[in-house]
Amino acid sequence: MCGMYFLRRLVLLLPLLLIISLFSFVLVRVAPGGPFDRERKPASPEIELQVQAKYHLDEPAWKQYVRFLADLVRGDLGVSLQYRNHTVNDIIAQALPVSASLGLLAFGFAMGVGLPLGYFSAVRRGHWGDYAGSLLAVLMICIPGFVVAPSLIILVGIKWRLFPVALWVSPLHAVLPVVALGLYFSGRIARLMREGMLNVMPSEFITAARAKGLNENVLLLKHALPLAILPVVSYSGPLLADLLTGSFVIETIFQIPGLGAFFVNGSLNRDYTLVVGLVILYAFLLIVLNLAVDLLYVLLDPRVRYD
């Protein structure tokens, strides 16, 4: 039963990606201006026409889309219109590993800080430990990355000279960007974790286990935690999709050659192929990760049934 459900979801992936690609394809073309607006002017009309023809921008839009789909089936996202020596596949192949490793580290940091923080706040509910933990969690979600990153650079990097403040060459270089990127999400995860624990702890099966005389730590960690962590699990799908594809702010501030800047620059420069390629990458990651989250649900919560 379950297998069928996930198979159907997997099959639905294709039309969904198709719609998203069509949507982004139309979206970037509706915006005024074109990819060659910043070229040397005045270019003669002949040259402009030639450039347009080279990238098939002179064809009707539907024909361009069909051409794009035909390329996509072969796994080819086309040539970037702004960085014309690179295909979109090249750009992704170069920048995605950097962004993904930064993102994964930040994900690990966020989980490592957020889960224990939320767990202990919930267990110490109503005590000062809970107040302090909850306040810390709210504080984390209220300090944006573009405040954390420069503050870390000034204090830890320039004043105390503990860690390097830019570039992406050694594990030491990863410390500040990972903290700056992950801090916000630690707060989100801590709040979800706390709320999850508070929802599970009044359950009857917890009371029953406690009445049976089960050790409190075993009870909480073994019986409450797998259910309480479910909100965090469902949040981690979109979170990972976000983190893996890079953050513009953090990567710009720390001068890390990741994917984040391409999202912003691509859409600012009307780099049609790059934008559509990135949207498809992001949407693909998001849909697959959400599917993985739903699979994890079945493993963690025996009550969940899909049919």
């Binding site: 969904l16 719609i19 998203i20 949507f23 982004s24 979206l27 970037v28 509706v30 915006a31 005024p32 201006g33 709210v138 504080l139 979600i141 209220c142 300090i143 944006p144 573009f146 405040v147 990153a149 420069p150 503050s151 650079i153 000034i154 320039i158 004043k159 909100p231 469902s234 594809t245 513009f248 702010v249 501030i253 999202f263 912003v264 691509g266 859409s267 600012l268 934008v275 990135l278 949207v279 992001y282 949407a283 998001l286 849909i287």
Partner: protein, 339 residues
């Protein structure tokens, strides 16, 4: 309200003509909210900030009218006034110091607060209108329309919002400039930016609101009072406007309070990128960006970063506490979109 009276009894506070059942619920929730100390404190803090922000231009005006010394003082405090006193650390003359152009940072932070707060509030209102409309129509009409509208929400969810915002901002910019130019608006550039930001941010922030409202409408439209209204011959528009949407208001307001800080944060992010408010106007985000630009290993101008960031973080913190307090008081939870 320590004793709970039965709902049928007429209460002095309720309006006997409409006799809405949620009135008493709202009163009880409000009571719960007032016992939440961080939330109440935050409410006062935000009120103080708003008063300060609104009063500051008046203060400058009054000071400048109080003789030649006052005029000079007020001149130095004007947020757009360039001067020789660059990078002054915080002191008696400039409480928050001065920036790269010698402008008084306190004034700039308070004028920037106008933009940040305005964009946050109006942007949240835009997202409210779109979200409530979308969710209410989808939930009430149901069937194909519902699944089409909600799939559209899913598609928008899986689009990176930064791309959507940038394209939206640039597309709308030309259109708006022409309109506002035709209307003869004063300072079309700045006004366009503000309107653009409000529309753009509202247009990417309504998705969760639509899901929540739809869920509420789905359960409300089965209720007897809606059926009664339908039996009396009320049309769908009237039922939605008079009976269903007013009953979703509690939940909607709670999420609205949580949307405001989210939009303030997004605006400051866009301004930080240089896509938001344009100089010489400022918002907290653009001030933080200016501060971050001045980071170098030789001299540290910490105040350029610290003061705008402190205002931004405190405001976000307070708004989040208020939102959380309202949510707990009304006891509403967001579904995770699975049902």
């Amino acid at each position: 309200m320590t004793n709970s009276s039965p709902a049928s009894e007429p209460r002095p506070g309720s309006d006997p003509a409409t006799n809405r059942p949620h009135l008493e619920l709202n009163q009880r929730a409000w009571h719960r909210f007032r016992r939440n100390r961080p939330a109440v404190l935050s409410l006062y803090a935000v009120a103080c900030l708003v008063v300060l922000v609104l009063a500051w231009p008046l203060v400058l005006k009054i000071v400048s009218g109080s003789g030649p010394g006052g005029a000079r003082l007020a001149q130095g405090l004007q947020p757009d006034r360039l001067s020789e006193a660059q990078f002054q650390p915080p002191g008696l003359k400039h409480w928050f110091g001065t920036d790269v152009h010698g402008r008084d940072l306190l004034s700039r932070v308070l004028y920037g607060a106008q933009v940040s707060l305005l964009v946050g509030l109006v942007g949240a209102a835009v997202s409210l209108v779109i979200g409530v409309f979308w969710g209410a129509v989808a939930g009430y009409v149901g069937g194909r329309t519902d699944s089409f509208m909600m799939r559209a929400v899913d598609v928008l969810y899986s689009l990176p919002s930064i791309i959507f915002v940038i394209v939206l901002l640039t597309t709308l910019e030309g259109v708006l400039k022409r309109w506002l130019g035709a209307l003869g608006t004063y300072n079309p550039g700045g006004a366009t930016r503000l309107v653009l930001l409000v529309i753009g941010l509202g247009a990417v922030s309504w998705l969760t609101m639509a899901r929540i409202v739809r869920g509420q409408v789905l359960s409300l439209r089965q209720r007897p009072f809606v059926e009664a209204s339908r039996a009396l011959g009320a049309g769908p528009v009237r039922i939605l406007a008079r009976h269903i949407i007013p009953n979703t208001l509690g939940v909607v307001i709670v999420y609205l309070t949580l949307t405001v800080p989210a939009i303030i944060l997004y605006e400051s992010f866009l301004s930080y990128l240089g896509l938001g408010i344009q100089p010489p106007m400022a918002s907290w985000g653009s001030l933080i960006a200016e501060g971050a630009d001045q980071i170098n290993p030789i001299r540290i101008y910490w105040w350029l970063l610290a003061f705008p960031a402190a205002f931004l973080v405190t405001t976000l913190l307070a708004l989040n506490f208020i939102g959380d307090g309202l949510r707990d008081a009304w006891d509403v939870r967001a579904g995770n979109g699975r049902d």
